[in-house]
């Protein structure tokens, strides 16, 4: 049984909350966030090549990566890791360069559930409701193509 992602965008506040559990120990999940060679294998939509220019998952570190669709489309993201505590917690900023200066603050909590299971909780705070709805909607265009073809391809990649 696949673990399900719980994603909520509450009304009236510019937050996005994501909760997902993993059948993996906390150190493995943390490593998958910390090591760029591992990050490249899962972060971002399928069908895009991920070019990581910088990824220093440590307090004060920075990151920048570019998703490339192979047809000339490139979508760059960057931010700083404000705080990173091993196997526990991180705060990072997130900016889609297509919408410069709209920066979200994301808190990641790694909770050891025992028995080799871990819960990942992500709380994202956007500067305004419009920023959350608009920027995320546009940002997500990177992951999908037009109309039903979009959903087909995307679902086929699941």
């Amino acid at each position: 049984m696949t673990n399900r992602v719980r994603l909520t965008a509450p009304e009236g506040v510019p937050f996005i909350d994501i909760v997902r559990e993993f059948d993996a120990p906390v150190d493995a999940l943390f490593r998958a966030h910390a090591e760029p060679e591992l990050v490249r294998q899962w972060l971002g939509p399928n069908g895009y090549e991920m070019d990581i220019e910088q990824w220093e998952f440590a307090t004060g570190g920075r990151y920048r990566y570019v998703h490339k669709d192979g047809k000339g489309g490139e979508y760059a993201f960057n931010g700083v890791f404000h705080v990173v505590r091993e196997n526990d917690f991180a705060i990072q900023t997130f900016e889609f360069e297509g919408f410069p200066d709209v920066v979200a603050i994301e808190s990641l909590t790694f909770t050891d559930l025992g028995d080799g299971r871990t819960r990942l909780t992500i709380h994202s705070v956007y500067p305004a409701l419009e920023a959350r709805d608009g920027m995320v909607a546009s940002g997500m265009e990177t992951g999908v193509t037009e109309g039903y073809d979009r959903l087909e391809k995307l679902a086929a990649g699941l």
Partner: protein, 118 residues
């Protein structure tokens, strides 16, 4: 942004329905026009009962509808429901679903490597 629980249930069913490759191919086929159960079953080497079951899951997820056209009973795509799935929050969620499944796969691989060091 309306995030009512019933909408959430509805989406859960739709996502579950689309998590299966056979059902995704059925949706892909139906996006080109209605089809009978036999036509839908054609590309697959599975029993007609299994095909009917897949259609039932898609029906319960409200992704397809069946008309009472005597024997033919063609299956139609419910375009409105598919469109609902492409609202930004759902696309966002779909991308996260997919991304976290990739992460699952990665974690499973690294787990095997740890247990069986090469």
């Amino acid at each position: 942004m309306i995030v009512d629980p019933s909408a959430d249930d509805r989406l859960d069913r739709a996502f579950m329905a689309l998590a299966d490759p056979v059902r995704r191919r059925m949706i892909a086929r139906l996006s080109r026009g209605p089809a009978t159960v036999n036509e839908l079953a054609d590309p697959f080497e599975i029993s007609k009962q299994a095909v009917s079951k897949h259609i039932q899951v898609l029906e319960q997820a409200n992704l397809v509808t069946r008309t009472r056209d005597a024997q033919r009973r063609p299956v139609h795509l419910n375009a409105a429901q598919l469109e609902a799935l492409t609202a930004w929050i759902d696309r966002y969620r779909l991308i996260h679903e997919q991304q976290f499944r990739n992460l699952d796969a990665l974690l499973a691989r690294t787990d095997t490597e740890r247990k069986e060091p090469s």
